[in-house]
């Protein structure tokens, strides 16, 4: 690992100011991806701006006016998994967090870190997109549909900092994950939700451009919310990833199987 500068700001304003002064610097949240990349020499930031000393970023609150759960970007996966606020309103979100990585990862990794990284096999993007969440940054609010832009790409500007994510409370929702036996990332993960604003089916792990929605399933579910409604809907394998763990064809099959199971569980 190369030498780097290290900053621990205590407010969002200070963090953004430090980042602005260090063009080769990076924010570090839980460090579960960045530190590993640095150890392997795949990332060589000049400076790290640690977000761990900014208390408001870790808060989990309920926004009554919007009927949404607002999760701070530094909320750890274990914290989300154990939050009674989340368990009582969006249990599927707590479930997603509880399935990420292992105990060590869940005690370090954060919501903001995960979605800013936008790993195509990460779990959170499915929940954020599937629940139609809003990503709140130091500059603006970004709808989930506008946020994820491809493999490890997001709508964030350089140095733009995610402060929280607002998850509208759905009528029902569920997540089904098929784990990579080695990494425990999703080979396929399907998040389904039925909310006032409509029905969403979001898939992670499979898409060659990252997380995506399955309109055909959403339309079918709008008419008939049941596992059978999606049984014969197959996502074309052509847009899906093939790697040593799963072919595109197998992933396509799993999407349909997991969608049915998620609907049954929701």
């Amino acid at each position: 690992m190369n030498a780097f500068g290290f900053y621990e700001p205590t407010s969002v304003r200070k963090a953004v100011a430090i980042a602005a002064d260090h063009s080769e610097g990076k924010y570090v949240a839980g460090g579960q991806t960045l530190l590993a990349a640095m150890k392997l020499g795949l990332a060589t930031p000049s400076d790290l701006v640690d977000l761990g000393k900014i208390p408001e970023l870790a808060a989990i609150t309920y926004d009554k006016a919007a009927d949404a759960v607002v999760v701070g970007s530094m909320a750890k996966h274990a914290q989300v998994a154990a939050s009674s606020e989340i368990a009582s309103r969006i249990p599927a979100l707590a479930h997603v967090a509880g399935l990420i990585g292992d105990v060590q990862v869940r005690n370090r990794g954060t919501l903001g870190g995960s979605i800013a990284n936008n790993d195509p096999a990460a779990d959170y993007p499915a929940a954020v997109l599937g629940l139609g969440a809003t990503i709140v940054t130091d500059q603006r609010k970004i709808a989930a549909d506008e946020f994820f832009k491809g493999l490890f790409e997001t709508a964030l500007n350089p140095n733009e900092l995610i402060t929280s994510v607002s998850f509208p409370v759905p009528k029902r929702a569920a997540y089904m994950k098929f784990r990579n036996p080695a990494s425990r990332f999703a080979v396929v993960g399907v998040f389904v939700a039925q909310a006032g604003s409509g029905i969403r089916v979001a898939v992670t792990g499979a898409g060659s451009a990252g997380v995506f929605r399955v309109k055909a399933m959403e339309d079918a579910l709008a008419k008939n919310w049941s596992p059978d409604a999606v049984k014969s809907i197959a996502v074309p394998a052509s847009g899906l990833q093939t790697d040593i763990h799963a072919s595109a064809e197998y992933r396509a099959h799993l999407i349909t199987v997991l969608a049915q199971r998620a609907i049954a569980a929701a």
Binding site: F178, N180, A182, F185, I244, H245
Partner: protein, 805 residues
């Protein structure tokens, strides 16, 4: 011919638990060593920091195969903190390549091809991770940074990573001097008899399969720390290794030409090896060599990524196997052709694994009268392949038990029945593939396993699972292994370039406390406890009054180390023989003290007693007398009580057993869940049942890993390792495994005093075949490739459905 008639003559296994043990042998004692391991007091190689310590970093090849046009080291050498930069060009001409310890002679009568395995690449790199240069610096960071400044000009060459590709005409040659990539073609058995038997067979079962390549993944990576002492021109090497004396012998005599007595090798606590730490590797050898030149101790610890590319891997066979049967399902003959990967270079025991430790086990537990096996060993542009838990025997068991299970299905004979019809029941039994089994009771383990696995209840469980739309399957593996390696003369006749005895020393201190020095070396097996139990039992003293020292050539007379489940049967026997000498000398001392004749003194329960009287002296008093010889027969007997013994076994030991695996498969996703795994093994007598169960659990976990999860994948075009980290190489986790049901049956080994056979590898030997047999049973398919990943299972289900449609 009928086995039932001779059955009465055979020794029948005792079932466990036997009568409650009275002495320490047979007790489930907690492991002595666990206190330090669990409280962080273990001392591993990387924990050792020497005065003036420096650190090494190895620059490794990014290419599977490339010519090195030039290496520029100037910039690296002048980097901050750098003490030395070493490349293949800097190695003295007197330094040899890494040796292979087993000479295989081919069917053509010629010795195997042994291309040089240089300590640092010379002219060419031959696999991803091949070591190219070593940088030594004040800190590891400085060494690593400097290594990035080494300028290697590579000319990439086409690579072969699969044995099938490597044997094709015109394939790239891994070594220019071996243009067909063939290390040897070797055969065992009577081909004529086999061909004749196949010609008259009522049924022939044929299977083509791959035994998947595995990466060992010891929790402690390889590490070393080498220091030169110019005061007495000696070297000290700390290294994470399973056999320090062998390491020293190979390094000094075959590679560096150093005087053996001037090198001390210490292997402190070792965090797992599974075979991968038997071998002499380049890294520690270069560190020893450089420690004199640099004049500083040099430490190297592999990082996990280096372990993946540079530890010797295991398995990697491509096999065609055939079994000929008569109309009643009696085995007539077996024919096996295997292409075995050696990797880019011959590792220390690479050549004997797919031959001596493989083809000799193809009789399994059965009376198959004729067996022929031909093995082609092949160089590939991959990490070397060598012994990994079971080493050849899991591959052999996989051949035999997949054939047997498939034949039973094809001939509609029950899985237990086909085994019973073919079991060996008279001992000793001479197999057609060189081994002579001394004893066993295969029915006992099969019956025990079937009972424990509740085989009669299986149809009901299968029906119940079907109601939940799940597929259930049951798989058997009745394995045998040859352990307790080995009679040196037999091994020598087969090509071994080393002896395979073991040494032990028992030092009784004046107060009657005992230190045992053993050439075996634990890499997690609990030797300190087991050996203490054995010695305490024989001497009638407390287990805590015995300490065990291992892993240090400076303190132990000699040692061949730990592999092939040999530590208790060979190392333990050497200790027992030393104890016998202690007792014999003690009797003379006691006889003198009691004014009796030696012949009248017996040693029972820790006391020397004059037969037929109540006259006795306790062991501790004899020990004290030996060191304070005031009243002592000094004219006839030396003082002191410290004895050494060497033991060379007269035969292998033959642990055997039956494993039964029950799986449940989700046909929609292809997920296989192991719902039950039963292992009933005959390891001979058992010293510590808890340690034995732990060994079985660990072995079964690794076997399940091979069957369902672990597969080392190199890209067939580029030769890059695609499973180079835990992101892609799937190790079994606790959640992947059921609670194992394990039990033992006992037929004591006939040729060692403890009657023990060894238990370290059995789990990894039996489990893969049991799991795959269960998966095939559940799916109703003939074969599925290991690891049987979810996608492979899903595809098998889909192609079945397509066939049915």
């Amino acid at each position: 011919m009928t086995d039932t008639t001779v059955r009465e003559k055979s020794t029948t296994a005792k079932s466990n638990p036997a009568a409650k043990p009275t002495g320490p042998i047979g007790q489930r004692l907690e492991r002595k060593e666990d206190r330090r391991f669990l409280t962080g007091a273990g001392q591993y190689t990387d924990d050792v920091k020497l005065a003036h310590q420096s650190y090494a970093y190895f620059l490794r090849s990014p290419h599977a195969h490339a010519r090195i046009k030039s290496i520029g080291t100037k910039a690296a050498a002048s980097s901050p903190g750098v003490l030395g930069v070493f490349t293949g060009n800097d190695l003295p001409a007197t330094v040899g390549g890494l040796p292979c310890g087993w000479l295989i002679t081919g069917t053509d009568g010629k010795p195997m091809k042994e291309p040089k395995h240089p300590l640092l690449a010379q002219g060419k790199v031959r696999h991803v991770g091949d070591q190219v240069a070593m940088v030594v610096a004040e800190s590891l960071e400085q060494a690593r940074t400097a290594a990035q400044r080494i300028d290697v000009d590579y000319e990439p060459l086409p690579a072969v990573v699969d044995v099938r590709d490597a044997l094709k005409k015109g394939a790239p040659a891994v070594h220019d001097e071996v243009p067909d990539n063939t290390c040897y073609v070797w055969a065992l058995g009577d081909k004529g008899a086999v061909d004749a038997a196949f010609a008259k067979a009522a049924h022939v079962t044929t299977l083509d399969f791959v035994n998947n390549r595995l990466i060992p993944n010891a929790i402690e990576p390889r590490a070393c720390n080498a220091a030169y002492n110019r005061a007495d021109e000696s070297y000290l090497l700390y290294v994470s290794n399973q056999n320090p004396h062998v390491e020293r012998l190979l390094m000094t005599a075959f590679v560096l030409g150093l005087p053996e007595h001037k090198v001390r090798v210490i292997s402190p606590d070792v965090g797992g090896g599974f075979g991968s730490k038997i071998f002499l590797y380049a890294e520690e050898t270069v560190c020893v060599l450089a420690s004199k030149q640099v004049g500083r101790p040099i430490k190297w610890t592999a990082d996990r990524s280096e372990s993946f590319v540079s530890d010797a891997h295991g398995r990697d066979h491509v096999t065609k196997a055939e079994l000929a049967l008569d109309k009643d399902g009696k085995f007539l003959a077996m024919r096996v052709q295997t292409r075995a990967a050696m990797g880019a270079y011959l590792s220390t025991f690479a050549s004997c694994v797919p031959t001596i430790l493989y083809a000799t086990l193809l009789a399994g537990q059965y009376t198959t009268p004729a067996i022929h096996c031909e093995v082609t060993a092949v160089f590939t542009n991959t990490a070397p392949v060598d012994a990994y838990r079971g080493a050849g025997r899991p591959e052999a068991t996989y051949v035999v038990e997949r054939l047997v299970a498939t034949a039973a299905t094809e001939m509609k004979i029950a899985q237990d029945e086909i085994r019973r019809r073919n079991f060996i029941r008279t001992f000793p039994y001479q197999t057609p593939v060189a081994l002579q089994y001394d004893i066993g009771d295969y029915d006992a383990c099969l019956n025990g396993a079937m009972e424990l696995a509740d085989v009669p209840g299986f149809p009901q469980r299968k029906t119940e699972a079907a109601r939940r739309r799940k597929l259930r399957g049951l798989g058997y593996a009745s394995y045998i292994e040859a352990c307790g390696l080995a009679p040196s003369n037999v091994a020598g006749a087969l090509g071994a370039r080393a002896g395979l005895f073991e040494a032990g020393e028992v030092r009784v201190h004046p107060t009657g406390k005992v230190t045992v020095f053993t050439g075996s070396h634990s890499n997690g097996q609990g030797h300190e406890t087991t050996f203490s139990q054995v010695v305490a039992d024989r001497l009638g003293i407390a287990v805590d009054d015995v300490d065990v020292v291992h892993g240090d050539t400076g303190r132990i007379p000699f040692g061949m180390g730990t592999y092939g489940s040999r530590s208790l049967s060979v190392g333990g026997t050497a200790i027992m023989k030393a104890v016998d000498k202690i007792v014999a000398k003690g009797r003379k001392i006691a006889a003198h003290l009691m004014e009796a004749s030696d012949a009248d003194v017996e040693f029972v329960n820790g006391k020397f007693t004059v037969k037929g009287t109540d006259k006795n002296v306790p062991f501790a008093q004899v020990a004290l007398t030996a060191y304070v010889p005031h009243n002592y027969p000094l004219d006839k007997l030396e003082p002191g009580l410290d004895e050494t013994a060497f033991y060379d076994p007269t035969n292998f030991t033959y642990p055997a057993g039956t494993h039964i695996c029950e799986v449940e498969i989700d046909p929609e996703t292809g997920e296989t869940k192991i719902v039950n795994f039963t292992a009933v093994d005959d390891f001979g007598n058992i010293v510590n049942p808890m340690i034995v169960e732990g060994q079985v659990h660990g072995g079964v976990a690794q076997g399940i890993g091979q069957a369902l999860l672990e597969g080392c994948v190199y890209d067939r075009e580029s030769g890059q390792l695609l499973t180079g980290s835990y992101m892609d190489y799937a190790m079994p986790r606790a959640a992947d495994l059921p609670n194992f049901q394990v039990d033992t049956r006992v037929t004591p080994c006939t040729h060692n005093p403890l009657g023990v056979k060894g238990c370290g590898e059995a789990g990894a030997i039996g489990a893969p075949a049991a799991v795959i047999n269960a998966v095939c049973d559940a799916l109703g398919v003939k074969d599925i490739e290991m690891p049987a990943t979810t996608e492979r299972v899903w595809r098998a289900i889909r192609s079945n459905a397509n066939r049915a449609a």
